[in-house]
Symmetry: C2
Subunit: 193 residues, 2 copies
DNA sequence: AATACTGTACCGGCTGGACGGTTTTTGTGC
DNA sequence: GCACAAAAACCGTCCAGCCGGTACAGTATT
């Protein structure tokens, strides 16, 4: 097949281990989305990843380890997305704030793993510190390095997080038109601040 | 003591049952706050309420029943608080929106049960519909009966919910000064809308 | 007499984690 | 190239503990 070109797996920068770990993380995310966090069990994750339970425990010695790794991974991806959006914006002021808003613009509650993971971590006495640090970093970025006033920066953050929460729990989310209008409006407020 | 004036408890509009149920709800909230939702067990709730496990199950036949009741109760209180704040505001426009903002103004993540309950319900496959209906009601109230424009109403909602989320998970919440500045600013935006 | 409990004993299922064994990969000397 | 050992990756099973829920007989309260 296309994989393993010969004797040496060589070229791949991914070790076998890393690949398995990734598939375990993906499996965990998938289980959370389809079955809910309450039904997130090691066996189910292992099965979804086509790995035995023992194999899972080899990589993540405890369920908490798995959760932490998943949370970390999810936040890392979100951060990367934000950076990309920020770069693409190419403004001299408020590019990160706009990225923050754009991040939630086209995001339905359907495709959101971060939320479930966050909740899981919170409930299972998990290390929210991972998430807390990340949000602190974003907050600093908005306040110190985005060229906006304090209040404008906070507004972007709070609106973004608010929509995220609403989507997460499906708490009467505004429809697409309302959402777009709100985000446009907030974007304008930020630019004029 | 001040209670039970004589032979008949009479005057009290609270039956024995109602009092016990309340103490069970309070106990559940207390356990969630002190031990986390993950450690919310029927026995612990019963013990905290000075009730036997059998007694708990007499009132709430299943754990889910207890959770639902707690969520309902918490939302009901929040709604009452909002109404009170709205009445006190005494504006002809946007009094509910201002109430919504004031609700989170002086609220630290410490004294927040609703969040934990919400998370618990979400995780335990619970009926989020209770919460969803309540938020839908608030949203309708803001949009239809508060005399504001659509975007202004949504702004109040999203900012309120956003701060709530941030407090809940302690995700780098803005300090008191920043928070006050943000809420004042949003309040002004709403009035000028 | 009805309601509101207490207390205990128990069950059954689930799950996290341990553990010993097996396969695969990797490193090394020849 | 090859043998071969050691380490890494992984399997499958077993177990102990916990927890929700049942059952029920008895006691207190109203």
């Amino acid at each position: 097949m296309s994989k393993s070109s010969g004797t040496t797996p060589a070229s791949a920068q991914e070790s076998k281990s890393a690949r398995t770990r990734r598939s375990l993380l993906d499996a965990a995310a998938s289980v959370i989305q389809s079955d809910g966090v309450a039904n997130l069990t090691l066996e189910r994750v292992a099965a979804t990843a086509n790995v035995s339970k023992g194999g899972l425990l080899y990589h993540y010695g405890t369920k908490q380890d798995l959760l932490n790794a998943l949370l970390d991974d999810t936040l890392r991806r979100a951060d990367a997305d934000l950076e990309a959006l920020s770069d693409r914006a190419g403004r001299d002021r408020g590019s990160f704030a706009h990225a923050y808003l754009d991040f939630v613009r086209h995001r339905s509650h359907r495709d959101d793993t971060a939320a479930g993971v966050l909740a899981a971590a919170a409930l299972d006495e998990g290390d929210l510190t991972i998430a807390q640090r990340q949000f602190a970093r974003w907050q600093r970025r908005l306040l110190d390095a985005d060229g906006l006033g304090e209040t404008a920066a906070l507004l972007a953050r709070v609106v973004g997080d608010g929509l995220w929460l609403i989507d997460l729990f499906d708490l009467a989310p505004p429809d697409d038109r309302q959402r777009a209008a709100l985000l446009d409006h907030v974007g304008r407020l930020i630019d004029e601040a």
